[in-house]
């Protein structure tokens, strides 16, 4: 399956298993602008897979309300770039529902899915990676898969998780990434980073599409520099797996974090800050962040903007030589 098919499969499993589960958002009825919901309305009915009016604050607010009654709400925000009208509902409401009510009420059965990340031509409003805005919000979980297999397992975990979750789907991988994905349901744990390749000289951390970039960088590092890289896919942004990352850095002594989102205030800063607190004496070099520039996401300049393998490789080389 490719990534969008993996998403469809996860949604299909959810609606089959949980009679309360509903999917809604803009254009989901005909199958969705990225085809993630194809066939589901015919299979499960128009009361379970339906379009809403064009209103993100409404979509998320509505989803919270469904979840408050205990039913499973799977909301789609058409592009992560458009999640901001729903920011109040997510941050002030969904994230705080359980805490502020003393656990009398919660909206844990809400999952928000949204296409995320650069796509080659998306420009300012079809390329954003807003995870850092949400990382600052206790009470929600933010999850980003790197592949179809990961996407299905992580999405199913988000849907089953008893806390409101945001699931960002790297849109550039929707069709491009293809792998074997089980048809039956399975889950991948949240808040667990995955060491996808062990190494000894430097730890590389990324999530989503960027995991593939740092994998290439690891190959380059081995061939050109004889450097052994440990690669970590963070998978869950909050609550994040501090232990796995720190354990790795204690071993390697070097950390490079890379994300498309702009450098300042990006999630790499949180990782960097925590790791230097926990692993200060183990560090052989300053922690390096290879990120997007502090600009809106440009259209024609995308090839220069993104933290590609050359920029990551160069940062890695400098760290090794520090």
């Amino acid at each position: 399956m490719n990534l969008f098919q993996a998403v469809t499969s996860a949604l299909d499993n959810s609606l089959a298993k949980d009679p309360t589960a509903v999917i809604f958002g803009e254009d989901v009825a005909f199958g969705g602008v990225f085809r993630c919901t194809v066939g589901l309305r015919d299979k499960y009915g128009k009361d379970r897979v339906f379009n809403t009016p064009l209103c993100e604050q409404g979509i998320v607010g509505f989803g919270i309300g469904i979840a408050v009654t205990g039913a499973t709400a799977i909301a789609e925000i058409q592009f992560a770039d458009y999640i901001f009208p729903a920011f109040d509902q997510i941050v002030n409401e969904a994230a705080k529902y359980r805490y502020r009510s003393g656990d009398l009420f919660n909206c844990g059965s809400l999952t928000i899915r949204s296409p995320w990340g650069c796509v080659g031509h998306g420009g300012l409003y079809h390329s954003q990676c807003p995870e850092a805005f949400f990382a600052h919000c206790p009470g929600i979980k933010v999850v980003i898969p790197r592949s179809p297999f990961q996407a299905k397992g992580l999405l199913l975990s988000c849907i089953e998780d008893k806390n409101p979750c945001i699931f960002f789907e790297p849109k550039i991988l929707y069709r491009a990434a293809v792998e074997q994905v089980p048809v039956e349901p399975y889950t991948i744990p949240l808040s667990q980073a995955e060491v996808i390749q062990e190494g000894s000289d430097i730890t590389l951390v990324a999530w989503g599409t960027q995991v593939h970039v740092i994998r290439e960088v690891a190959l380059m590092a081995r061939e050109k520099l004889g450097v052994s890289c440990e690669i970590i896919d963070l998978r869950t942004i909050i609550p994040w797996d501090v232990d796995t990352v720190c354990k790795s850095v204690i071993k390697t002594g070097r950390l490079l974090i890379s994300h498309e989102a702009p450098l300042t205030g990006g999630f790499a800063s949180e990782i960097s800050s925590t790791v230097q607190e926990e692993c200060f004496l183990n560090l052989e070099a300053p922690i390096s962040r290879v990120c997007g520039y502090d600009t809106p996401f440009p259209h024609i300049f995308e090839p220069f903007y993104i933290p590609d393998k050359w920029k990551c490789y160069d940062a890695l080389r400098k760290m090794i030589n520090y």
């Binding site: 309360t20 509903v22 009016p53 309300g65 039913a71 109040d88 502020r100 009398l104 009470g139």
Partner: protein, 364 residues
Amino acid sequence: MDRQGQIINPSEDPHLPQEKVLKFYRSMTLLNTMDRILYESQRQGRISFYMTNYGEEGTHVGSAAALDSTDLVFGQYREAGVLMYRDYPLELFMAQCYGNMSDPGKGRQMPVHYGCKERHFVTISSPLATQIPQAVGAAYAAKRANANRIVICYFGEGAASEGDAHAGFNFAATLECPIIFFCRNNGYAISTPTYEQYRGDGIAARGPGYGIMSIRVDGNDVFAVYNATKEARRRAVAENQPFLIEAMTYRIGHHSTSDDSSAYRSVDEVNYWDKQDHPISRLRHYLVSHGWWDEDQEKTWRKQSRKMVMEAFAQAERKLKPNPNLLFSDVYQEMPAQLRKQQESLAQHLQTYGEHYPLDHFDK
């Protein structure tokens, strides 16, 4: 009813039994008594904040009485009478205001942010109008569950200006949700009068723009509120569509204890509504003219209700606050590892620096 409690149009008299109407009256007056005492308690520094419901008791009780007890309520913050009508105990109103260890909300929020799962009253949050699309989602789920249940969503005329209100109305209509939107138009959003809030014909006139059947009622006539809500409920269940009720009333009190409304409105204006058009007075006239209430009962009830409130108040004040560990729970269903570390670091900090913290007031 008119202002003297006389039924204007006999065909619209709901002919409610004496016991029920007395329950209306007792709920409204008990709320009023509790409001007076808790407002004072804030002035005296005993609780941090309070919001009264003066003048709007009819909107709360009339609507609450027309619902089923399992209908889900989403409120804004000035609907305590709905909880009062549903027999929420004084002890728990006070516990929340004091943030003491009996508070089911675990002391997490400012006063008057009540919530009650058993009475189907969703916990109040401060951001305005956020409850509106949520109520719509809950109604959609209720429809799917075939539960013969509706949702009622309260908000003020000010909150109706928020984008969330527009979102909620549109979703309710397009997704055919069994919901009653109940707008308390009380004349002010803090200091902002309705003339500065909207220029159209109030909130009721917006409903048809969304395809929502709407009605405007005299919010200080508890029977009118009851009738409108009863009919809206009947039709919402039968037809799976939203209804909008705009209840015209007046906010006799200040916005909150942080507000002094004499800065933006005249005392004469307030007194007019208090004396000439108060929902409690109007209902009392009705009760008296039916021989269901008299001066002696009024005196007795005033004493009794005041005593009940004072007792609950004294008890609430004496109780300890919840254990500071409760600062950390319920962020997620399970406590994340990093948060547990933070909890431990506070515990350690208190071991050394505990004398600088009000630990004596908190449960060990």
